[in-house]
């Protein structure tokens, strides 16, 4: 094993020879010297996906834990400008950055550009250990028992390019939560780790609760606990045993739709699964030491910048009393554990950042933070180490590039997957609906309504995380007049993911035309606002009245499609489209 630098810029080493090889394989593929399927499996392992549009590709840059620096933000912005025709990158719900519509021929150069800042797309796709996510407050959070980032990085370093993880039955998604609030939503992951402290023989030891076998899509499962406490020193070995058990479960390879680890855990039960892990820990590989110290990564730069000595108190500037700033100041700022410093959430509509915005964020972290930010699973960005006296300046800068909107993590902060804009599996245009819903829910001032989450996926798989939303939607279709297809959505209510008690939303029996969804959200909100008891959250409300009680609220909209004519035409078209809707779904590449 190569010695890993504990203080390197990147967590996963960038290997130039891997990109040279990729470039050669592209040439061989273009020359017809490699079979398409073999090339597809190869390119997926390097993070390159096919798209709905046959001539272009998507590349997913793996950002472990969403950790970025000013340099990486600049490089990501440069990629958007040079290689992405739409001049933008997309923050995903897995804390990656994706670029769409990139020609295959440009990929190697793109990889070299991000390689300069030690980022890689290696194993961002395919049946591998995918990007690991965490809470953006890791390291600055008031409630975390210890900083999990070195261990999260160690996990990624151990299992990316590892011989056991190169062709597993299916992809494998991991989350590390810094505290019991479980902001990384470990329960919905293949493998989830939550920081714990346990006193053993009078010594306080760092460790993790380990959960395994969660997942969403068409078979939602919450991950049961494999171990209540595993000391950090043993964490890699236990995780490796889990991965080896998964990799050896060849019966999973028969049907790719039933090949995630949740299927195995659900079938045998967590106790039997634990026995399998313990049997695995007796094997030869486990007799060798895996020293966590060899894999740790620490970000020495994630500390306050030297105090520039700007005055704490100064004359109020005119914008400082504006409602926009006041709103932002209330919703988007979080006090760090470190006194006097703030984390600043940047609300990124639908996760799309232009090249200019990437550079602006880099610049802001240089001038007002300490060159550090985190991408979040809510498709936003968190700037770290901002001093109180600089908050207004930061807002002004953000506002100047269209990123000054308040209400982060609120009802207006709608999550959506890329949908039919680019994804082969998409049924509907989730991005377009996301924008329409966000516009329809502006202006609520009831804090309990503001606290609701709306999440949209373009298909049942759930990249938009609709399973954990207060109100979630996934793309569908039904037949309207003359058996014409109507773009539509299935509706889910009552999910929860904050505060450590993850619960999946339940589907209600209505199917809404896509164009009616914004109004449907307004109706649900109005019903909740009118019927709820004092201080009852939406999720508590749904638990009390039952999801079914929401069906009559939307019943008249369900499967409603007017007679097909010029007036009803928009109903037969998806959001932001001007052609009649038709379900077009390609072969997925996830399992190749």
């Amino acid at each position: 094993m190569a010695v890993l630098d504990r203080h390197s810029k990147g967590i996963i080493p960038y290997l130039p020879e891997e990109v040279d090889h990729f470039e050669q394989e592209v040439k061989r593929f273009k020359a017809g010297e490699i079979e398409p399927d073999a090339f597809m499996a190869f390119r997926l392992k390097q993070g390159v996906y096919g798209q709905r549009q046959p001539d272009s590709q998507m590349i997913r840059v793996k950002i472990i834990g969403g950790i970025v620096t000013d340099e990486s933000l600049d490089a990501l912005g440069e990629v958007a400008a040079r290689y992405a025709p739409l001049n933008r990158g997309h923050v995903t719900t897995r804390e990656n950055i994706q670029y769409h519509h990139v020609p295959l021929e440009d990929m190697a150069d793109l990889m070299r550009l991000i390689g300069q800042v030690e980022l890689t797309s290696r194993e961002a796709c395919g049946n591998t250990v995918r990007n690991v996510i965490t809470c953006p407050l890791a390291g600055i959070c008031k409630t975390e028992p210890f900083d999990i980032r070195p261990y999260m990085a160690a996990y990624s370093r151990r299992f990316v390019r590892h011989e056991v993880t190169q062709a597993m039955p299916r992809k494998f998604k991991t989350a590390f939560s810094p505290c019991s609030s479980d902001c990384a939503v470990t329960s919905m992951h293949d493998l989830g780790l939550i920081a714990r402290i346990q006193e053993i023989d009078g010594v306080r030891r760092k460790g993790f609760e380990i959960r395994v076998g969660g997942g969403t899509s068409i078979m939602p499962k919450l991950a049961p606990t494999l171990y209540e406490f595993v000391p950090v020193e043993d964490m890699l070995k236990v995780c490796e045993a889990v991965l080896r058990v998964f990799n050896q479960a060849n019966e999973l390879r028969r049907d790719r739709m039933m090949a995630r680890i949740k299927v195995l855990v659900n079938r045998v039960g967590i106790n039997k699964f634990r026995e399998m892990v313990e049997e695995e820990l007796k094997q030869l590989w486990a007799q060798e030491e895996i020293n966590i110290e060899d894999y740790l990564w620490e970000d020495e730069g994630d500390v306050p910048a030297p105090d520039p000595g700007r005055p704490l108190l100064r004359r109020l500037r005119p914008g400082e009393t504006s409602s926009e700033y006041t709103r932002w100041r209330t919703s988007n700022i979080v006090e760090q554990r470190q006194f006097g410093f703030y984390g600043v959430y940047v609300k990124v509509p639908q996760g799309d950042l232009s090249s200019q915005q990437f550079h602006a964020l880099a610049d802001i972290t240089r001038r007002f933070g300490n060159r550090r930010a985190m991408l979040t699973a809510e498709q936003n960005v968190l700037l770290r180490w901002v001093r109180q006296e600089d908050l207004y300046d930061v807002w002004e800068e953000l506002d100047g590039v269209g990123l000054g909107e308040g209400g982060v993590h609120e009802i207006t902060d709608v999550t959506s997957c890329p949908g039919t804009d680019s994804c082969k599996l998409g049924i509907t245009n989730a991005m377009g609906l996301g924008r329409a819903v966000a516009a329809a829910v502006q202006g609520y001032d009831d804090p309990l309504v503001q606290a609701m989450h709306v999440k949209i996926s373009g298909c049942p798989n759930g990249c938009g995380r609709h399973h954990i939303a207060d109100i979630g939607f996934h793309g569908a279709s039904f037949k309207g007049d003359e058996a014409r297809q109507v773009p539509s959505y299935e509706v889910f209510v009552g999910g929860q993911y904050e505060g450590g008690a993850t619960q999946y939303a339940q589907r209600i029996k209505v199917k809404l035309p896509a164009k009616k969804v914004p109004e449907a959200v307004q109706r649900i909100v109005a019903y909740y606002a009118a019927e709820r008891s004092e201080s009852e959250s939406f999720k508590e409300f749904v638990d009390r009245v039952g999801p079914k009680s929401l069906e009559p609220v939307l019943a008249d909209m369900s499967r409603s499609a007017d007679k097909f004519n010029m007036d009803s035409l928009p109903l037969y078209m998806d959001w932001e489209r001007n052609v009649l809707f038709n379900v077009e779904r390609g072969e997925g590449e996830c399992a190749v």
């Binding site: 068409i218 798989n461 793309g475 379900v583 072969e587």
Partner: protein
């Protein structure tokens, strides 16, 4: 690709799959059919129907068990000639024979 409904559906007709299908591609005629059929041109291979079937009757087309291979044609051809397919279903699984898998209690 498409998904295929096989013999265990006959006389069970649970219809959970119809409820789960996001694109309404599962059909049957009330009173005339003993099982449901997936329209292969409309199926998007999402497999949402598979885990909800109480009698494990639905398979991806390349995973249909050997003894039920004929159900590929049965699914496809029902959309062309319902009468013929109903007759064939009655031959394969005569009326009055118990279902392949009983509904779970």
């Amino acid at each position: 690709m498409t998904y295929i409904v096989t013999e265990p559906c006959i006389d069970i007709l649970d219809k959970s799959c119809i409820d789960a299908c996001p694109v309404d591609c599962i059909y049957y005629d009330e009173g005339s059919d003993r099982m449901v059929y997936i329209e292969p041109g409309e199926c998007i291979d999402c497999s949402a129907c598979v885990p909800v079937c109480p009698v494990d009757a639905i398979f991806a087309e390349d995973l249909v068990p050997d003894q039920w291979k004929e159900f590929y044609d049965i699914n496809v051809k029902w959309f062309e000639d319902k009468g013929a397919i109903r007759g064939r279903v009655n031959e394969i699984h005569p009326i009055g024979t118990p279902p392949v898998n009983p509904l779970p209690a």
